[in-house]
């Protein structure tokens, strides 16, 4: 765990060195709320590039009435929306949308507040030396993920490989921080407009699971970027996504079910040290009627019993 060290002078002028662990106590940043039921990592997530919060715990306390009121207003407002949206139709959209929609833009980066839905991390969590940052691109119309990849493994005696960075969307939350899911069953293709740097990225989609053994199940596919100054439209059918768990591709493959999707992410781990960048304009879904493939990989038994 990262430690921060501050020195300060006591009343008697003797400098003291104190080691503090910044993430041990709940933070009181404006985005966290008294009613939050999410874990400590999600509450106290600090985007790389932001200065660490080195305040003392008693300085982080914000114990006032308005904080409670704003939490109540936010969550009860979301609850009211959930009831009222049912009048309009399933998931708040009229039925005609569900019948006719061919495309749906899911993430569109317009403005700095759109970056709040994304979590960026790198191998610094395990002691590596890569760095990844996220910012809005030119004219606040794109998302710009950049940083430096370093595949030197951390010297902890057990890690052999390192050098990865990732950007992942947060799971949508309903009222009272209940987890919601995306329903993409009307679509069969992922459509993104990106401008990369020629590196091979991976797109990861995580769906809702039931057992704790499936916690790290992720459906992935490759995203080869060109690197030129021109934008690149990438369409990946969902039938191409393969299942991996904790990074290991599974033998027993199955298709991704689109009715409960939690998050999407982009990962870079191509063992090439140096700077990287990926600019994303939008991430959308579309329904390609010409694509009738259900799953691209074998489903039949590989060793049938006789």
């Amino acid at each position: 765990m990262a430690l921060s060290r501050t020195t300060f002078k006591t009343l008697f002028g003797i400098p003291r060195v104190i080691y503090r662990q910044p993430l041990s106590f709940p933070s009181t940043s404006p985005s966290s709320c008294i009613l939050s039921t999410r874990g400590a990592y999600e509450r106290d997530y600090r985007r790389p590039g932001q200065a660490p919060d080195t305040r003392w715990p008693w300085q982080k306390i914000r114990f006032d009435f308005s904080k409670g009121v704003e939490g109540i207003r936010k969550h009860f407002g979301l609850l009211k929306d959930e009831f009222v949206n049912r009048w309009t139709g399933p998931e708040g959209k009229p039925l005609i949308n569900h019948m006719l929609e061919q495309t749906q833009v899911q993430w569109e980066f317009r403005g700095p507040e759109s970056l709040n839905q994304w979590i960026v991390s790198s191998d610094q969590e395990i002691g590596g030396h890569s760095a990844a940052y996220i910012k809005t691109g030119r004219n606040n119309t794109t998302c710009f993920l950049y940083g430096m990849l370093c595949s030197t493994p951390p010297r902890d005696g057990e890690t052999r490989y390192s050098g990865y960075c990732t950007m992942r969307s947060k799971q949508p939350l309903g009222s009272f921080d209940r987890k919601k899911h995306y329903d993409w069953s009307n679509f069969n293709t992922l459509h993104m407009r990106i401008r990369g740097d020629g590196r091979p990225w991976m797109v990861n989609i995580s769906a809702e699971t039931y057992f704790s053994h499936q916690r790290d199940d992720i459906y992935s596919y490759f995203l080869y970027t060109r690197g030129g100054p021109y934008w690149q439209d990438v369409k990946i059918p969902f039938s191409k996504f393969f299942l991996s768990s904790r990074g290991r591709i599974q033998d027993d493959q199955h298709a991704l079910w689109l009715d409960k999707v939690n998050s999407i992410g982009f990962t870079l781990g191509d063992k090439a040290d140096g700077p990287f960048q990926l600019e994303i304009d939008f991430i959308a879904l579309c329904n390609d009627h010409a694509h009738t493939e259900e799953f691209a990989y074998e489903l039949y038994k590989r060793n049938p019993e006789v």
Partner: protein, 348 residues
Amino acid sequence: MNPYVLTILLSSLGLGTTMTFASSHWLLAWMGLEINTLAIIPLMTQQHHPRAVEAATKYFLTQATAAAMILFAAATNAWMMGEWDINNLSHPMASSMMMAALALKIGLAPMHFWLPEVLQGLDLPTGLILSTWQKLAPLALIIQVAHTINPTMLTLLGLLSALVGGWGGLNQTQIRKILGYSSIAHMGWMIIISQYAPHLTLLTLTMYLFMTSAAFLSLKMTSTTNIMTMTTMWSKAPMLASTMALTLLSLGGLPPLTGFMPKWLILQEMAKQQLPLTATIMAMAALLSLYFYLRLCYAMTLTISPNTTNATMPWRTYTTQSTITLALFTTTALGLLPMTPAIMTLLT
């Protein structure tokens, strides 16, 4: 699946239900229910998908809980009253617990929460077995013990199921979940009349089996699982789209289709039993269900999506699936209303 294994599982399903039908002792009835639960679990997990395994797990947990409660209620009755006979469930606590357990078995509200999720995780043939065959044995037990159950409990279960089945299905886009809520609503209708006229429960069950089988088999023929796929069904199988629409309206209880028969007879019986308010609430709840069936019909047959191919009709090749059962169930789901007097004679 290996044909021998499939034969064993399907015959176990048949054996379990038959044992429950033929039993007069609670232990044998419970055994039949357990055999049914265990036999359908491998059918549910045929596809190695985590959602199928999740559905099987949820199904197993709820059904095992219900079976344990059934055994506990029967044992309590045997201890208190000295009777293991199914028809002599006289202890009030035992009869209430038994009814709660059987309600959990068939997915009556308020013990219905597992049903839509489990149906959503299954493929259509297994969903059909779950919605039809697995309801037979518990309902046989309910019909036998209905006269001993607290009438208020039965009425509340029935009303709540009809309302929940109607409201819950309103904002769904997945058809399997819609059919799950439809099942809850129909079970409500069956339960509420079981204390006054058990033959009508049997009638409703039979008609429900025909209609649901027709619906599931039509969906299986066109591999349709959500509303959007339903909107393009007309160009691929126009006759099936029209009969599917009529099947859905039959599920909604519209005359002159079969589904009107049980609802009409139940409302008539409730009027005879001096229950106008209950009858009115049930009829209003049926309107909620009718709304989502009509919505499906609207999406399927009353609209033409602009997003199909340029040609008017795609080239329709012959299907390799067997169509005889679909034809049979569709005919019974649509055309049995004029035979109401004959059916009533058979059942009373």
